[in-house]
């Protein structure tokens, strides 16, 4: 593998990626557990390791507003946030994507209030899933680091021009020191290239208006453009992930298929739990059980076609959601996965597990239990309970 092998927490890895990107503007506001990202970055600014204009805004709403202003101005702009901060910026998330501004945002997954909780679950990013942002979910610090660098290239691609949030699990990854391979500063810089927007507001000799009132006669056309950008993003994500793999030995796609060769019992999950699941899959495979894992990396755009192809051979599928959608029928990931499988002639039996809310630990035994359930399903041919709550006290 290319690059220096170092020990970094998720937050440190994200901050290092930002340092290498050396954005023109970073506007950020503290929020647990993402605070460190901005904090570490501000030290890079203070030490002259980047020449970024660092804006210490007074709220996340202003953080995103300033990033939007900076990006429209022609700058490469970044911020970092979590949970309530992401919720507070929600209004501006839609505006960043609607104005087609390629802002990249490290995001540390944390439960949403109330009740208040600082630990990792996916309710924050799931509440932002329809904001027009690309959403990249990371299993560990390595992926967080690699994905932030890739995100810059993806977002700024002329076919895309959308913002992206790159998430890892609060505390579980953000504060866990692990081994990562870093690119050299030069490799990172070369990979992302220089940002050359087609038009930007600071180009005062070519003045234009951005953010005009768009009524019945134009709004739909502009939204249709945005939808097309999201449609095209999948292809660009795969291209950039391949190029990254070719150059640095770690290839990325829309999702990772782990031991899916002939897998009959499949768990589909995002984030750090995928890593824990890998440990279980290895054990099960050793015992001859045809267990597999599909780790979803890109939640937006949702790779419905590719997913249904990958799941064609599964007999039973458990979709694991680290948040609920409060729709009385499972989590947000479950909704999309189940919908993706609708057109398959031979569908796997499918069930949903809501787990790990508020950072509740999910251990090897719990995951093994899910595979046991899947096995039972294949034996009886029945799904006893479609939506299950894993690890909650009754």
């Amino acid at each position: 593998m290319a690059g220096d092998k170092v020990a970094r927490t998720g937050n440190e890895a994200m901050a290092e990626a930002m340092r290498q990107i050396n954005p023109d503007v970073v506007a950020a506001y503290p929020i647990t557990p993402a605070t460190e990202v901005a904090q570490l970055f501000s030290q890079f600014v203070a030490d002259g390791k980047v020449d970024t204009e660092f804006v210490t805004v007074e709220s996340e709403h202003s953080a995103m507003s300033a990033c939007i202003g900076a990006s429209a101005g022609g700058a490469r702009a970044m911020t970092a946030t979590a949970s309530q901060g992401l919720a507070l910026m929600n209004e501006m998330l839609h505006i960043a994507s609607g104005l087609r501004l390629p802002i990249v945002m490290p995001e540390v997954n944390r439960a949403l209030s109330a009740p208040i909780n600082i630990h990792g679950d996916h309710s924050d990013t799931m509440a932002s899933k329809d904001t027009g942002w690309i959403q990249i979910n990371c299993e560990n610090s390595q992926e967080a680091y690699d994905s932030i660098i890739q995100a810059v290239k993806i977002c700024e691609h002329p076919d895309v021009l959308l913002p992206a949030m790159v998430s890892d699990d609060g505390f579980i990854i953000s504060h866990c020191m692990e081994v990562i391979h870093m690119l050299s500063d030069d490799e990172a810089k070369k990979f992302i290239g220089e940002y050359k927007p087609e038009r930007f507001l600071l180009d005062v000799d070519r003045p234009y208006t951005l953010g005009a009132l768009d009524l019945q006669d134009y709004y739909f056309e502009h939204k249709r453009q945005e939808i097309e950008a999201m449609n095209k993003a999948s292809k660009v994500i795969v291209e950039v992930g391949k190029e990254f793999g070719k150059k640095f030995g770690r290839e990325y796609g829309l999702f990772e298929e782990y031991r899916m060769d002939g897998a009959e019992l499949v768990i589909l999950v995002m984030g750090s739990t995928a890593g824990t699941t890998k440990t279980v899959v290895r054990e099960l495979r050793k015992n001859g059980i045809k267990a597999g894992l599909l780790k979803l990396r890109i939640f937006r755009p949702f790779p419905f076609k590719e997913l249904s192809d990958a799941l064609r051979g599964a007999k039973a599928l458990a979709v694991m959601d680290r948040s609920d959608a409060f729709n009385s029928f499972g989590g947000p990931l479950f909704e999309d996965v189940r919908s993706s499988l609708y057109d398959l002639e031979k569908k796997p039996l499918i069930t949903n597990y809501i787990y790990g809310l508020g950072g509740r630990d999910i251990g090897l035994d719990a995951i093994k239990g899910v595979y046991d359930d899947l096995k039972k399903m294949t034996e009886t041919g029945k799904v006893e309970q479609v939506v299950n709550y894993l690890g909650v006290r009754e």
Binding site: A7, D169, F171, I172, M177, V179, T276, K278, T279, G363
Partner: protein, 192 residues
């Protein structure tokens, strides 16, 4: 697959349980191991009982669940015993290292352990003498190096020196004392 070593650190907020887990993790990384180091996070402030963890392995570590059955437990503060269940989940053939004036035998009785090995070292005394501060975390790392037999002392010293030089660039006088404290605890830790 190579064996996975899981370690749990007990301390009080401010004693450096988190820092030492990171230091130990990085020292292990320098020897080519895969590592994890992470604290348990809560709203606790200075003085409250806290925990941190290490995982070490020759292979990549993919699991991200909590450490529930550690092979080794390190207790930085003896007064935690009785307040916190420091032996919870400790593997039957595991070890516990305590910063105390008691002998391993006395500590084994106090903890009510049977199969597990108990090690003791007066890390507070070592720290006070070497660093002029009751910061038992670095000496306890020396004791852990000895007990775990996973890393080589000179490698750990080399790596820690490198780390401390960065961290204490503004007060280099503390570096030597910290390194000495690791060496002394490595020598002085006793087991039963």
């Amino acid at each position: 697959m190579a064996e996975l070593l899981e370690i749990r650190w007990h301390g009080r907020g401010g004693q450096g349980a988190k820092t030492v887990a990171l230091l130990f993790g990085e020292a292990a990384l320098a020897t080519g191991k895969y590592i994890q180091a992470f604290p348990e996070y809560g709203p606790e402030r200075m003085g409250a009982p806290v925990q941190s963890f290490n995982r070490l392995c020759d292979d990549e570590i993919t699991r991200h669940c909590q450490v529930t059955s550690p092979k080794i437990v390190v207790v930085l503060d003896e007064t935690l015993i009785g307040q916190v269940d420091v032996t919870e989940g400790l593997q039957e053939d595991g070890s516990i290292i305590v910063n105390t004036t008691l002998s391993p035998g006395e500590m084994k009785d106090k903890l009510g352990l049977k199969s597990q090995k108990v090690y003791t070292v007066n890390a507070s005394k070592i720290a006070t003498e070497c660093i002029k501060l009751d910061k038992p975390n670095t000496p306890m790392m020396g004791a852990l190096v000895k007990v775990s037999d996973f890393l080589k002392l000179d490698g750990v010293i080399r790596d820690t020196e490198h780390k401390l030089k960065k961290k204490f660039a503004h007060k280099p006088e503390v570096i030597g004392g910290n390194l000495d404290s690791i060496k002394r605890a490595y020598e002085e830790v006793r087991g039963e």
